[in-house]
Symmetry: C2
Subunit: 371 residues, 2 copies
Amino acid sequence: MILTEKIIKLSKHYKTPFLLFDLKQIKKNYLKLKKNIDGVEICYAMKANDHPKILQYLAKEGSSFEISSLNELRTLLRLKINQSRIICFNPIKSPEFLEAMAIQNIKIMAYDSVDEINKIAKFAPKSEVVLRIIVSNEGSDWPLTKKFGADAKDALEFLLYAKKKGLKPIGLTCHVGSQCLNKDNWVKALHVYNDIWIEAQKRDINLTLLSLGGGIPIQHTKPIPTINEIGQVINQSIRKHFKDKTNSLRITLEPGRGLVGDAAIMTTTVTGKAVRGKEKWIYIDVGILNGLMETIANFTYQLSAESTGKKQIVTIGGPSCDSIDIPFNKISLPKVNIGDRLYILNTGAYTTVYASTFNGFEVPKIYFVNS
Amino acid sequence: MILTEKIIKLSKHYKTPFLLFDLKQIKKNYLKLKKNIDGVEICYAMKANDHPKILQYLAKEGSSFEISSLNELRTLLRLKINQSRIICFNPIKSPEFLEAMAIQNIKIMAYDSVDEINKIAKFAPKSEVVLRIIVSNEGSDWPLTKKFGADAKDALEFLLYAKKKGLKPIGLTCHVGSQCLNKDNWVKALHVYNDIWIEAQKRDINLTLLSLGGGIPIQHTKPIPTINEIGQVINQSIRKHFKDKTNSLRITLEPGRGLVGDAAIMTTTVTGKAVRGKEKWIYIDVGILNGLMETIANFTYQLSAESTGKKQIVTIGGPSCDSIDIPFNKISLPKVNIGDRLYILNTGAYTTVYASTFNGFEVPKIYFVNS
């Protein structure tokens, strides 16, 4: 989303901090993914931003949804989103959540452990399960840890165990890492999928759901592969490995950031300034604890200032008294004054959803253009 | 707060995750600090936990309050806490907040930069200002960064500038680091204070407010100095340096964790298990994003299991799909099953206040015993 004069003018109406979303940008992202990945079904990972307007808008466009919890399910049901468009790829689910999905006839869900299969068999016995396997996360800005995923070498065993427990193993999922800058991760993942697919077939398990996971990158400060480039390697790999299996194939993608990340701009106000030693500091009304959590691990957003003053190196502190609350470290910015506004670009995903009101500072409100 | 049979029994009534507070423990902490630090006025740093019951209880005990934001001020005013018991030690305040404090006749506030003095002079010109200076943070579990504080060598200049701008410089504050395990930090701070005090006196600035800051530690997994030991070194230092100034001295302490940290136990339920490679994992319904944020920087809470099974090394994942959401890394715990409860001790401070509902997982509710 580009910071235009129109956006700046519109922003003046609101008290900072706030997020201004452009719903048309979400549509553009949605259509671009649909266009570039052959036959893909988009399942929005609603954890990225669960504002009802965004969910409703995506539902209207035809999107499906990926959920992780009972409250996410409740939110979608409240919005009258059809259960057939809901899948759950959280590999660890509470019994309560499983029961609720069973009641709603939501069947497609992920797993990656024996204990989870036992739990699903007990609380949602008609489920169709998707095995999450570990794939390469090389070159992702936010690589995943060992928290989730089964080793590919154990995949067949897991698929057979699910079948043995009366569940229907229907496919595979993975995660190439959030904000994935390396398109080869998808190529590698599909290669691994193919091996498992063939092994499963030999044991009479016919997999049909091929989930590409999340990780679709958006433009921040580093160069990124285009959706077209990512689509090309994915399409090629699917044609190569799944050519004779494509009739029954259901291909899903679960983007969060890739749909909403670049569809919003956060506006903040400079509330203070200081010179500490030789370092220049400014302080703003949004920080790590009320909206910019991702900056904690060197994730850097692009910043724009209204001022056109001489550029200088500044560190930016958030509003709270917490010493970890330093969203930007030694960045280049035009000289600004207290009261000036700053615009933090591409902040639609993983911002307000991580935010708390720690120290009494408010979570950015969400407003829309083109809604 | 000790996990007794009574507490476990009482906990059964509530759905996890939740915090169970013992108000008597808060009183005990309050009285212990009052007893061990001669003439101290306790100003609760409400950011640690701003539940109205806790604030009201402390007000009833006679506590003052340290605030950082307009919403914290509003909360205290709603609770009818007298303005004379409110101070603000956030060194960077928004103009809006300064104006609100001026209207409420809340005068005592911190600063640490020239820009802040200019701002205070403009928006709250009758303020009595307290200079925050940098002191040693050696041996604190949560050392502060360069985000706040003036160099002691520049202190006089800052005091004179405040006076020049029509404000009344009345004292000094500092922060020895959160969960400070090294009592000498207070000794060093008071030594630095004394030098500044004398210099200020020579220039006709009579300082009277001596703020000891926060940092009072509570028992987690490492040995800590007792309040008695901390009190002794503080009392000795104050007697040594401020003997002939004690008549007009107002000594404040701004504890957050030190008052409420060990007054609560968090109860959580095991929702999943997995073996990943050779590592055992369990998953619980509270994690970094909905209550255990402090574990992100190796801050470790003590954990108790109901189970008395054989101990094993496990890593514990939080409920969200976020890969950073791993509150405990390779800790020793009795073997547990899905559905078992775990008790996370001394979780009264900096837990629920940092929590978001990311991914649909709930912020722990707060309940009370002895209220």
